[in-house]
């Protein structure tokens, strides 16, 4: 049997099953092997720790940010990322949106019986690489194996804690009429990247997911002393949904300028073909910042010094009324509602 590229730096000899079996979650020898050989070394920075039921953490005094998220993306591997990288970056980004410095993650795996062990290894390696890139450590985890047909291959669940520095207060309640709305880059890459490999859709121009940690952007804004009022990462439902959440939760109006929102030509073309609006397509490596208009130019300059924020733009302004609504000024100068969608965007017939 030839060994694929994934197995090259895998230290485990090939005598154990190539597919995950129910016994891998059964609490016996196979489960112990899976945890000790595959999971612990990958998570614990090369220091095989003594397994224990809980991680005990030492953290600096102050406030903790704590968040959790489940990852069920299909397909699990897509241009620009995979479910492992997504599970790390997504939770790290949620911590960063609270102005926290991300520190530690938990990882829960729900594995469907029959998943290729190689794919599991690949995801774990990617997860570990992303954690290293983000400067976080995985300190605790859980593995469950479910019967074939009772799961979609692999679900990953991560929770994370981060430390909020003294004096940092990033929260929706601080959003004020007059605030500038900044966006760290172009929108829609993640959603289109995933769609492009789903059910045989293929585009001439491959679009890669923007899946990445935006924590460095947040750290840079805070280090520059910018009074960031609120941050959001426009994931599911895209930019439009993130703005609507703020408008509805805070009771303000948000006005956006259509031409100011960067969209990659490949993403724009795919959206035209599929009948989707890029403003509703998911990002996984972007942030929206609400901050005092007087600090907008300086904040943009800070964002643009980082590669992830090179295309940062000021896209709009917060207003007092009409409360709860997001309006878009079209390129023709007309104004229209940018509404919250009922559900997922559905491709049009013609």
């Amino acid at each position: 049997m030839t060994r694929g590229p994934i197995a090259l730096d895998c230290p485990v000899p090939r005598r154990e099953p190539a597919l995950v079996q129910l016994a891998h979650g059964g609490g016996g020898r196979l489960m112990r092997e899976l945890i000790v050989r595959e999971l612990l070394p990958a998570f614990a920075a090369g220091r095989p720790p003594m397994p224990h039921d809980s991680a005990v953490l030492s953290l600096p005094p102050g406030r903790l940010a704590f968040t959790t998220d489940g990852y069920v993306v299909h397909p699990r591997i897509f241009p620009g990322g995979d479910i492992g990288r997504l599970a790390v970056c997504g939770t790290v980004n949620d911590l960063a949106m609270a102005g926290a410095e991300p520190r530690h993650l938990s990882v829960g795996l729900v594995i469907e019986e029959g998943l290729a062990m190689d794919e599991l290894r690949c995801v774990i390696r990617s997860l570990r690489a992303a954690a290293d890139e983000c400067g976080v450590t995985v300190v605790t985890g859980d593995t469950k194996v479910v019967d074939r047909g009772k799961g979609d291959g692999l679900f990953v669940h991560t929770a994370g804690v981060g430390v909020v520095a003294a004096g940092v207060d990033v929260h929706p309640r601080r959003v004020l009429a007059g605030d500038a709305v900044l966006l760290s880059g172009d929108v829609g890459r993640h959603g289109i990247a995933v769609l492009s490999v789903r059910d045989g859709l293929a585009f001439e121009t491959p679009v890669a997911s923007d899946c990445a940690s935006v924590a460095p952007l947040v750290a840079a804004l805070l280090a520059a002393g910018i009074d960031v009022h609120c941050l959001r990462d426009p994931t599911r439902g895209g930019l439009a949904s993130a703005l609507n959440e703020i408008a509805l939760d805070v009771g303000v109006a948000v006005e956006i300028d259509e031409v100011a929102v960067p969209v990659d030509p490949g993403v724009a073309a795919a959206c035209e073909l599929l009948g989707l609006d890029p403003l509703y397509v998911a990002c996984e490596g972007r942030l929206v910042a609400f901050l005092p208009a007087a600090e907008a130019d300086r904040a943009l300059a800070v964002l643009r010094t980082h590669p992830l924020g090179a295309a940062a733009a000021r896209i709009g302004t917060v207003a007092a009324a009409p409360a709860g609504q997001v309006t878009l000024r079209t390129r023709f100068g007309a104004r229209r509602l940018l509404d919250l969608l009922s559900g997922e965007q559905l491709p049009r017939i013609c």
Partner: protein, 364 residues
């Protein structure tokens, strides 16, 4: 996709708007046929930029909206049958039948899938020979060639587990029906560019002559629409009633010969009920007898449930341009995209959905 920006150039839009304004001497009511045009008009805010003399009426050209409730019920029943994989364009899944939609069937365990082409559904049938794969063949003339091609290919490749649930509708009979109504509301039409790409423009000439109405075949980008409106206004002001082609980069007078041949081989013209409007003679397509083996309605023997539209739904008037969505008593209250009473509130090409999405409040 290239050349998108060229058709969305604000400076050119300003020039068209000025040209329209200089030609106007009185109010005119124009109807865009196609829901895709309605969507673009409201999305880009074009109607808000037009001079107040011009009223845009939104036409019946949303295939999702005019598919009768009985057929949605039929689709749900087939989709819920054991062994069936039911494939549809995404729009159709949330359209309410009399008691449920296709999303509800999916949630209850039905194998309902969104595809982007009937040929994808055919490929599914080839990959899963033990399943019955049914494609919901909805649409105007635009989608008919690909649907015809799918059954054609199914026969050629010997794929027996594939069938179509057909609800095709045709534009010209609907235009005629609107014009023949005693309380005619429309002074000129923007005909649907994509439909004419397939069918050509010839079948509109007798209609324009008989009813003394300008018909301008128009594209879907903002500048297409503005140019189409300008051409309509010029004709109306000059007292002409002709068929003109704004969308010449895509539309030939004789249409697409190969697509037409494919449609004619597989489909025949039949009377068709339009949701909210009623039956219109010779306004739909059905599989010819020679292709009846691919007719899902016959294969599954699921009959109409006698389903009816919600009594508060006025989508029929909206589809005929007789009622603006926001003037419907149910709009935004009883009827929302989350709880739609009719299909016009569901489909992204439906006028009610477009107004709800872009125009729920009167933007200052």
């Amino acid at each position: 996709v290239k050349y998108l920006d060229e058709y969305r150039d604000p400076a050119a839009a300003v020039r068209y708007l000025a040209a329209i304004r200089t030609r106007l001497t009185r109010p005119w009511r124009l109807m865009e046929i196609c829901g895709g045009q309605t969507h673009a008009i409201v999305r880009f805010g074009i109607d808000a930029l037009l001079p107040p003399e011009i009223t845009l009426l939104h036409g019946p050209g949303c295939p999702v909206c005019v598919t009768p409730v009985e057929l949605i019920d039929q689709a749900c029943a087939i989709a819920a049958s054991p062994g069936v994989t039911f494939c549809s364009f995404g729009d159709m899944l949330r359209v309410p039948g009399s008691s449920r939609d296709l999303f509800a069937v999916k949630a209850a365990g039905g194998d309902v899938r969104v595809v982007y082409s009937p040929l994808d559904a055919l490929a599914l049938a080839e990959r899963h020979p033990a399943r019955e794969v049914v494609f919901f063949a909805v649409g105007f003339e635009t989608t008919a060639p690909a649907n015809a091609m799918a059954v054609h290919e199914a026969r050629r490749r010997g794929v027996g587990n594939f069938s179509l649930l057909v609800s095709h509708v045709l534009v010209p009979p609907a235009v005629e029906a609107l014009l023949a109504a005693p309380d005619r509301e429309v002074d000129a039409f923007l005909a649907a560019g994509h439909v004419c790409t397939v069918m050509g423009t010839d079948e509109y000439r007798p209609i324009a002559a008989r009813h003394r109405v300008p018909i301008v075949v128009t594209g879907f980008e903002p500048l297409d629409l503005l140019q189409g409106i300008h051409m309509c206004v010029v004709q109306l002001e000059e007292g002409r009633a002709e068929v003109e082609n704004q969308y010449a980069r895509s539309v030939r007078d004789a249409g697409n010969a190969r697509a037409l041949a494919m449609i004619r081989e597989v489909f025949q013209v039949v009377p068709r009920a339009w949701r909210g409007i009623g039956e219109i003679a010779a306004s739909g397509l059905a599989l010819r007898p020679a292709w009846a083996a691919y007719d899902a309605a016959a294969r599954f023997a699921v009959h109409g449930t006698g389903g009816r539209d919600h009594p508060e739904c006025r989508s029929g008037l909206v589809l005929q341009g007789k009622l603006k969505p926001a003037d419907c008593p149910a709009f935004g209250g009883l009827c929302t995209p989350d709880h739609p009473l009719g299909a016009t509130m569901v489909s992204s090409e439906g006028a009610c959905a477009a107004y709800h999405r872009y125009r729920r409040h009167a933007a200052p």
